[in-house]
Amino acid sequence: MQLIQLIIDGVASGCIYGLVALGFVLIYKATETINFAQGDILMLGAFVAFSLIGVLGMDYILGFALTVVIIAVFGFFLDAVVVRQIIGQPPFATVMLTIGIGFILRGFASIFWGTDIFSFSTPFSGKITEFNGLIISYVNLSIIIGTVILVSVLYLFFTFSRIGVAMRASSENQLAAYYMGIPVKFIFSLIWSISAATAAIAGVLLAPITLVDTSISLIGLKAFAAAVLGGFGSIPGAIVGGIIIGIVEQLCGTYENYLFEGIREISAYLVLILTLIIYPRGLFSDKAEVKKV
């Protein structure tokens, strides 16, 4: 029973990792760059939601929606103004650029909102439900349901909408997409905005658990493990990878005494390194995307 309880908690935190990883994957699939600032965008989302809901006293749903829109617009311009400029440079440049952007965002947040820890009330805070002796908090439930909804919406979007198909086409083959009259640059910026919105949703859902401060941007680093485990470039892989990481972390935390002290904090990174060494393709990659020497 305790095991199932742990797994449920793990799934909830894993969904957050999965959502952030989803952001990585979307951008990577389309532009072959990795956005190291994803975690910082998540943090920004949580802070914006705090300002709207906690400070301005907006309704939770309205504040949530507005946050997502604001961050999505931010993501769009982040690509259109900054990131687009270094297309074609070696991957190192992109890594450094997005790390730099991450630092700017974190610095901005701590100047603008301060370094205190904030929280805002949500309809889910403090409520729990019992099911066959399992205790499930509403917050965890909201994260899991939110993830399911978001992933289904994205799935429908990529499968059926014109823009979604155009996005898939551009990430499949940029040149061919250009020839078909798809505005590839605009599409890429749009992908950045979707990815930023995903991070913002994760940030708002996460806010009741971890509270809001600048250190939550570190989740972005753990989400790398999720993305790599799922096979960078696979959307279901990102979510499944995230859930596995969440469960592993939860289990490592509980059975710390049997393993070694402090394994919980580094379990995600250990999984990441082991995946890269043993099976760098990841679980869900359809083709070998990692070049091997």
Partner: protein
Amino acid sequence: MRFIFKTNYAQDINIARHGGDKFWYSTLIILMLAMPLLIDDFYLGEISYVCILAIAGIGLMILSGYTGLASLGHAAFLGIGAYTHAFLLTNGIPFFASIPIVVIVSFMVGALIGIPILRLTGMYLAIATLALGFIAEHVFIKWEHFTGGNRGMPVPQPEIMGMSFYDSATFYYVCLAFLILSMFAAINILRSPTGRAFVAIRDSEIAAQSLGVNLGLYKALSFAISGAFTGLAGALLAHYIGYLAPDIFNIFLSLSLLLLIVVGGMGSLHGTVFGAIFVGYLPQLIAICRDYLPSSIGSQPGLEPMLFGLILVLFILYEPLGIYGRWVKIKLFFQLFPTYKKQTFKKQKVFTKSDRV
């Protein structure tokens, strides 16, 4: 404009390209040797720190600037160097015996980590090294027997020929000597076939491979050499700090090293020194910035990471070759005066390169 008349193939790999080089670098070395007579102890300490940063920069430059492999966890090597050195000194090993052991240990660790990790390319490598950096930091905290954990670990300050490390001039000379030695070693590695292989890997893995470069071997070698230099810097850093705590070797330090090579100039050893001066004096620079900003912004702790990120972004976008690149442009401007053309360094139009096969 200087024309170099080549009469010998060996001239292509000479360390000093012409008489001007010999003159200016000798002058620089003499000036550096005379430094303790010219400035007081505080600034001498600062310059020692810059020397240490430059050695670490050489390590990362060989890996990132010359082999094209990004490492986001190089603080781990600084940590390994620092802790190994402090551990050896505490157990009574003399300074000059400890340093080679530190270099060998970091070399081995670099090779050990390098062999499995370096089968990855580009982004994956960056992520993997990032994770390794975190794991290393964690090991420093938890392996209390060796590192003293969160309580920290004092570093014994040895004496060399009767002169204590507490004397800043002695420490300065030690750092300077190691910097010159490292620089010399790095120049020699880079003009040897090994170094050429590194550059070939950076420019095109496929081309390098078809010319007979064993990618796996040379990447692991690059990682190991890089680790050795950074470990040496770590050992000296241990003396500079005096008291080791695991949180010194965090991700921020790794990123400062990256900032160092980006700002200095990717792919140039000059760049490591320029970058080291920049990163070494960045806190002072920020302190000056604070004075000019309104106090509501200036007193914020978030200002430092923000400026850090801003500098990084601006350099990547507008001067990808860093300070050294700018210096080359200015030099060429005067050499060609008045016929300098701006287009000489115009960025070529490039398209997205694909890693996918």
